[in-house]
Structure formats: C-alpha cells, structure tokens
C-alpha cells in the first residue's frame, strides 16, 4: 500500500505521460481493460501458477472473479474476439494497475503495481521484436536513464532446443532451468556431467551474459536445429541493435530462463541502477492468443511505473 503525494505524484504522472507519449508516437492505441474479470481469463492467459497470485473472489452467481493480475491476458482476448476482423497488425498500449499476492519476504513485494505496457499483435519476426526493444529504449532515454539502464535479451528456444535434444523429462528440465536461473556453477557442472556436449553450453554461468561473443561461444557447443535457429534470430537481432548504436545499453543473457513456458521466442528484462530487481520485462508470446481462439504472433513488454518513479525520485528529478 503506497500513497503518492504532491511532488511525488507529479513525478509519477510525468513518468506515465512520457511512456504513453512514446507509445503514441509509434502509433500504439491506448486501451483500458476491466479491473475485475473472470478468473478463467487470467488462467488461460498467464497459466495457472501466475494467475493464482491474483486476488480472487466470487460473483453473486458463485463464479470466480479476479482483480486483474495482468493486462496482457485481456488485450490478447480482445484481439482474438472483439477485434478479430480488424486488419493486422494491432498496436496497443496501457498504463494500468495490476494486483498480485506475493510473499512478504520478497523485495518486489507490492500488492499493486502500475504497468506501462504495449502489445504488438499480428506480426512476427525480427522487425516486430526490434520495434518493442526500440520502444523500451526510447522511453528509458526520454526518462534520462540513458546511461544507467540495461536491457537483457534472450531467446527461450535456445534452452528449449537443448533440453529437447538432451531428452530431459519435465523434472530434470525444471532442475536445469532452476540451476541456470540462479547461476549455480558447481551444481550445474555436476548436473551436466551426465550429459553430452550440448549441455556444456550452459555449464559456465559467467559466460552466458555479455555482447555478441556470448552467441559465438554458444554456437561452438550447440548443434541442434531448434537452438541454432534461435541463436541465428538472436544474432540478427543483435546486429540490428548494433546498427542502431544501442549495443551499450543491451546485453545478451542466455541465462534468462525465468519464464520459459510463457514466452515463445524473444524474452527481455529491464534493469536500472538504483533498483534492486528488474523494472520491466517482456517478450514474444505467440502461443497466447491461440488460447482465445485465434492464434497469431504477439510481442510486448511492461515497465513498472512505481519502480521507475522510485528510482527517479531518489535521484532528485527528471533533469
């Protein structure tokens, strides 16, 4: 629970306005979605584990409702149903609070967070991925965070391809995922000892993060077609980032495997000096709209307005 009073509220409003004006400049239409919706919607959109973090309650007729734990689910359903006939691509943006239960011990803990987000629906491939990365970078630039942010990018299919080619069952796959996610070097080496070459790509956690050299190192160890295609896509995306002169603000992080079941290609996280956890995340989720009856590619991200405001407030001002 958090109050913003006077100058703080103004700062927060300014941050929101900056983001929304950047979205508008890229032709993203604002969308306002219901704060309360049927719980089923969010379970379909986010998967059971994440949706269960929502606050749930029942309607008069006994049906389960939830305070929206995310906006993307609602936008995806809207695209698949209300706007099924609209020509693609669709570009939407929003500034909206989301509500989640979280264990109190965690630093990110807040029941309510306002997301500044965008969704680009109906186009796949590199141009769309690059578009949302440029959007995120432009917002951070306009907030004068230019030299103090870092966006990490990865493609989840690199891990998925390796896990498939190692024939990992669900449990072993989750164990490998967790060890990579927390960078437990010794345990990783022990785990991967039982497996052939490809797994070794993940055996040195400190070599998973960096610039293009990370991709080259992974290429020398990974041979399965699925991962190679993902590495090629990431490589091309990196080339595009370099040609825009943005490579100082971006990092490749092959160890970002935190939401493998949600994203289907690109995934990204946003870090800013002064914030102890990521202040934004996103990626490609081509599987999402399919669960509402119309499968099509989609990519997007959210920034955490409250976290950004806090960083900027501590810094003194926007100037």
């Amino acid at each position: 629970m958090r109050y913003y009073i006077g100058a703080e509220a103004r700062l927060r409003r300014t941050v929101e306005d900056v983001a929304m004006s950047v979205f508008e400049g890229w032709n993203y239409e604002e969308v306002i979605t219901p704060s309360v919706d049927y719980y089923d919607l969010f379970e379909q959109g986010m998967g059971q584990r994440e949706a269960q973090r929502g606050f749930r309650f029942t309607d008069n007729d006994g049906r389960l409702l939830a305070l929206r734990p995310d906006v993307t689910s609602s936008v995806a359903r809207m695209a698949a149903t209300l706007l099924a006939e609209r020509p693609r691509p669709l570009r939407f943006c929003y500034a909206a609070p989301v509500f989640r239960q979280q264990s109190q011990s965690h630093a990110e803990w807040r029941r309510e967070n306002t997301q500044l987000g965008c969704e680009l629906i109906g186009v796949g491939g590199q141009p769309a991925d690059l578009e949302v990365l440029r959007l995120a970078a432009e917002i951070l630039l306009r907030l004068n965070l230019e030299t103090t942010y870092c966006i990490t990018i990865n493609n989840v299919e690199i891990f998925n391809g390796v896990a498939a080619s190692l024939n990992l069952d669900t449990r072993a796959r989750e164990q490998l995922r967790r060890l990579i996610d927390t960078r437990e070097a010794a345990e990783l080496r022990r785990f991967l000892n039982g497996y052939a070459n490809e797994g070794q790509a993940f055996a040195q956690p400190t070599q998973l993060t960096g610039k293009r050299v990370v991709i080259d190192a992974a290429r020398s160890l990974i041979t399965n077609a699925r991962s190679c295609a993902a590495l090629d896509a990431l490589d091309q995306l990196w080339t595009a980032i370099e040609s825009l002169g943005l490579e100082d603000s971006f990092e490749i992080d092959l160890g970002d495997v935190s939401s493998l079941d949600y994203y289907t290609g690109l995934c990204l996280k946003v870090f800013v000096y002064g914030a102890g956890s990521s202040v934004g995340r996103g990626g490609r989720y081509d599987g999402l709209t399919g669960s509402f009856g119309r499968a099509e590619p989609a990519v997007g991200f959210v920034l955490n307005l409250d976290a950004l405001t806090e960083v900027l407030a501590r810094r003194g001002s926007l100037d």
Partner: protein
C-alpha cells in the same frame, strides 16, 4: 564499487580469510574497529557486516550487490538471488535431533518441533505428510526438549558437541550447509564486469586451496 554483505559470526572470519586469498584485503586496524561498514585496501569493495538472516534482505533489495551467507539462511529466507559460488566455508549440517532416537515413531499425537528454521522445518516434514507443530525460537534451541517445550528440534550442527551435552542425538539429516556467494539480480547485469571479476577471483582462490 561493489558492496558485499557478510554474515556476522561464524561466517565472517572464514569469509575474510577466503577473500584475502583472493587478493581482497581488509586491514586489521579497520576490522578491529566497531564500524559495521568498511572498504578494502584497494577501495573496489565495501563490506557491511550484518546478522546472517539479514544478508539475503540486503542483497535482494540491491543495497548490497553480493553477500556471503550460509545455505541454511538461504533455504529459510526463500529470497530470489543468484548463487554463483559454493565457498565451502563454515560447513555444517541442518538436522533433526531428539533425546530419543526413535522419537519420530514414538511421539503420540502432533509432534512439536522447536527451531529457528520454521520454513525448512515445515518443508521437511510437510514433504512427507508428517503434521508438526512448529515452535519458533531465536536461540538455545537445544534446551527445548529437556524442558519439555518440544519433542525434537531442527537446528544447525557443526561438531555435535552442544547436542550431546544436552542429551540429544541426530535422528535425521535435512541438508548440508556451506557459505555461499549470493548476488543481486540487477547488480549481476548492471555491474557485470565487477561481479565477474569477484566470482573469478574467488573461484581461483578456491581451486588454489584444494
């Protein structure tokens, strides 16, 4: 500059020895002062000394970029941190201990367990469907069975002397615990070079000492 939170107590001395062998020295004069925050001789690192349970808190919030703390504390806190290195220091075990070796099957009704580690205890017994009443204490847990507060305890054991002197025996081992290097997720990306240098220096020091 990188800030490292170090768990006070058992961990502190062996952590400083290890850091020194990795080329990160803190002068004796500074250490003997009572200051809780001090920097190393190169000025690249700042150390803060806090209670073990607070290390994950400082690191998760990014106030400290890195931390040195026992696995027991990490299991208990469930903090979302990176765990790049097992430092192998301050080795000990988290165990279930009781006066009677057969306590697990002999206790009538709900088993009462006294511990500082309620999360670990809940997870350990919960995984096997054994209902327990957890009695949260903050120290001298070994006293609890003798005074009738609990049937057994879950606690850290290094040598086993304290357990024996209080008439307790280990009936189950839950996990082994050693000192870990933990890193904040944002620092890992934003200060990648410095964090990697620290991890590599410590890795070399560990390999050298084997």
């Amino acid at each position: 500059m990188i800030t490292i939170a170090i768990a006070k107590g058992r961990m502190q001395d062996s952590a400083l020895v290890l850091l020194a062998s990795a080329g990160i020295h803190v002068s004796e004069a500074k250490l003997s002062s009572r200051r809780l925050a001090l920097s190393d001789e190169s000025g690249d690192y700042r150390f803060i000394f806090v209670k073990p349970a607070d290390v994950p808190v400082y690191v998760e919030h990014g106030i400290a970029d890195c931390g040195v703390v026992g696995r027991d504390v990490l299991l208990e806190s469930e903090a979302d941190l990176l765990l790049p290195l097992d430092l192998g220091i301050a080795r000990c075990r988290i165990v279930v201990a009781a006066a009677d070796p057969q306590a697990m099957t002999k206790v009538q009704g709900m088993i009462r367990v006294a511990t500082k580690y309620s999360q670990i205890t809940r997870a350990h017994f919960g995984a096997r469907g054994i209902p327990v009443e957890i009695i949260q204490l903050s120290g001298s847990v070994e006293l609890a069975p003798a005074l009738g507060l609990a049937d057994m305890i879950v606690d850290l054991v290094e040598t086993g002397v304290t357990l024996r002197e209080n008439g307790l025996t280990v009936i189950e081992e839950i996990a082994e615990s050693t000192g870990r290097l933990v890193v904040n997720r944002a620092s890992y990306q934003l200060k990648a070079g410095a964090v990697t240098r620290l991890v590599n220096a410590l890795t070399d020091a560990l390999n050298g000492s084997k």
